[in-house]
């Protein structure tokens, strides 16, 4: 358990006397906050709050422990300040790694927003596979990662999820290119070019499955890493690809929005432990820079889950 983080939950709830407001203050959602509190209570072996319809009140044990929690958090902050003074660099540095998949416009928005948010620091943004990011974050070689989901990794602190809709890169002479919109089922018969599966195997498989879900069974799926080569192959005809770039046309290929935006690139911001004070706002900045007005696809499960899920059809 990350005791420092959980103590921060404790002090925030004690200050706000309200889970919702405490969650807002911490920049998180309420369920993980209340789960975190329960875990802390279980770890300490005492109840810290009484919950009722009026809100939350400190228990006697909570009142007794609160000053100590404040002392721990103050000492941690002192420790971080001291550590930073030892470095004595002229400017702070922050290394941000991004999983492949975003287009130039997203990178521009990302870098601009980061620089504006922390003008006192050099924010270094570069591209790296999710698997390598996990290693670099855990070993302190990178500060903030923007990882491609799904990712199964331990020891990281997770920020918000970013969902970026994908558009179709298709030959310019496809009728949908002129129409300015395409349904996935209209791509039947085309071959699909995606980044090599090795970069993000589970995400790759899910993307291919989502195409099938919406009626596009690619004749063949090939892996190509280089964006210019992808563009050239698509322009040559018979093949399509997906991109986060904005709709446009040129050099024999067009970027066309897909009806209902069924395909998305799902990213997740992550870092190790607690971020330095001076870059603590960056995860939120990153999410803001990458998020357009796009409703994340909420799951609408069938009313009767398949038996293989081992869940009741109409739960009691």
């Amino acid at each position: 358990m990350d005791l420092v983080r959980h103590l921060a939950y404790f002090t925030a709830i004690a200050h706000e006397r309200h889970f919702g407001r405490a969650a807002q203050r911490l920049g998180m959602r309420q369920p993980p906050l209340s789960q975190g509190l329960r875990r802390l209570e279980s770890e300490l072996g005492v109840r810290l709050f009484d919950r009722d319809s009026q809100g939350v009140t400190l228990t006697d044990a909570g009142t007794a422990l609160l000053p100590a929690a404040h002392r721990v958090l103050d000492e941690v902050e002192q420790l971080q300040l001291l550590a930073r003074r030892q470095e004595t660099p002229t400017r702070e540095r922050c290394t941000v790694r991004v999983a492949p998949g975003l287009g130039a416009r997203h990178y521009a928005a990302l870098v601009t927003a980061c620089r504006r948010a922390v003008p006192s620091a050099d924010v270094d943004v570069s591209e790296q596979s999710t698997a390598d990011q996990v290693q670099d974050l855990l070993q302190g070689r990178a500060d903030i990662g923007i990882l491609r989901e799904p990712v199964a990794a331990r020891g990281l602190t997770w920020g918000a999820r970013v969902v970026v809709p994908l558009r179709c890169l298709m030959p310019a002479d496809h009728p949908a290119a002129a129409a300015g919109r395409v349904r996935l089922r209209d791509l039947s018969g085309f071959e699909l070019i995606l980044p090599p599966r090795d970069q993000a195997p589970a995400a790759h498989d899910e993307l291919v499955a989502a195409c099938e879900r919406h009626g596009f069974l690619a004749g063949k799926v090939s892996g190509v890493a280089d964006d210019r080569l992808v563009h050239g192959l698509v322009a040559s005809g018979g093949q399509v690809s997906f991109t986060t770039d904005a709709p446009s046309a040129g050099e024999g290929a067009a970027i066309v929005p897909i009806d209902d935006e069924p395909l998305v690139l799902t990213l997740r911001v992550a870092w190790r432990g607690t971020l330095d004070v001076h870059v603590r706002s960056l995860p939120q900045t990153i999410v803001g820079a990458l998020t357009r007005r796009h409703a994340s696809p909420t799951v609408h499960p069938g009313r009767t889950p398949r038996a293989a899920s081992e869940l009741p059809a109409e739960p009691a």
Partner: protein, 295 residues
């Protein structure tokens, strides 16, 4: 990490899930392979295997008559997707057929009725007597449902399932937290040891061990362990466990020449998806690699 363990880890990484595995050759003690084999994981329906062993011992002791009828009523039994748990009307069956339903189709109603009859203490003392100190049954499926409902403060299970499907991360849910004393947990190593004791007639009498092996070989789900060994002359006996993020199977793969391998694979997905074929395939692939190393 050995080359083989790397390959197994890669199967899990490819599917984007946390994975745990232990496999041992039953015909050649000492040959084994593991990946986090001693990490506790919430068992989901895999708890029905130790429960079946506790049943077998209760029959041996004369505490339970396997042919005695038990009635599962729709208003009191635990709901589920399969078996009697999914039916509309009261069902009366013998205890041993309740066990068969619980093991072959993971029937929640049959399992919780049996657990109510035996008690968790009985299951846990069975585990202790077999030396399986890392496995603990705190409750059955009803208990697991209750923990999920409490996690979200939801009014009902269906509401909790809806919420979990849109949750950002599943790691923080207490329902999947193996370190809580209220969780029903086990390790892959404990599960292959339990299978070994069933296959070597040490878990209960030879007759009752044979019964457990028989019902495990009637396992209907084939997308996990059985998918890795699709041969007419190879018997795969298993017990699955599935609950939102959790997908497990523990079982024994038997070749006609007498080679037998106990395999336990647990997975935890970060995605709240009811259907995740990639995780099922990863279980098959990991089991295939593990058995290949031991052969």
């Amino acid at each position: 990490m050995s080359t083989a363990a790397h390959g197994i880890q890669r199967s899990f990484d490819d599917a984007g899930v946390f994975g745990y595995l232990h496999a041992r050759a039953l015909h050649e003690p000492g040959r084994e392979i593991g990946l986090l084999p001693d990490d506790p994981v919430v068992l989901a329906s895999v708890f029905k295997l130790p429960l079946a062993v506790a049943f077998a011992r209760a029959v041996d002791d004369g505490r339970l008559d396997p042919t005695e009828p038990v009635t599962l009523s729709p208003d009191t039994r635990t709901p589920g997707a399969t078996g009697f748990a999914a039916m509309s009307d009261p069902v009366t069956i013998s205890w041993r057929d309740a066990v068969r339903s619980m093991m072959t189709v993971s029937d929640n109603a049959a399992a919780d009725a049996l657990l109510d009859a035996l008690g968790t203490d009985d299951v846990n003392s069975t585990l202790a007597e077999l030396g399986l100190t890392s496995t603990r049954v705190s409750g059955g499926t009803r208990h697991l449902y209750a923990s999920l409902i409490a996690d979200f403060g939801s009014p009902s299970l269906s509401e909790a399932i809806r919420q979990v499907q849109n949750a950002t991360t599943l790691d923080e849910l207490t329902s999947f937290d193996p370190h809580l004393t209220t969780s029903t947990v086990g390790t892959c190593r404990d599960m292959t040891a339990l299978l070994e004791s069933v296959w070597h007639d040490r878990a209960a009498s030879a007759e009752q061990c044979a019964f457990i092996r028989e019902v495990m070989a009637q396992q209907v789900w084939t997308q996990r362990l059985a998918a890795a060994f699709p041969f007419d002359d190879v018997v795969v006996a298993g017990k699955t466990g599935t609950f939102l993020a959790l997908r497990h199977e523990v079982g024994v793969v038997e070749y006609p020449n007498g080679e037998a391998y106990a395999v336990a694979v647990f997975t935890l997905s970060t995605r709240a998806r009811l259907i995740l074929p990639g995780a099922d395939a990863a279980i098959a692939q990991a089991a295939k690699l593990a058995v290949a190393v031991l052969r």
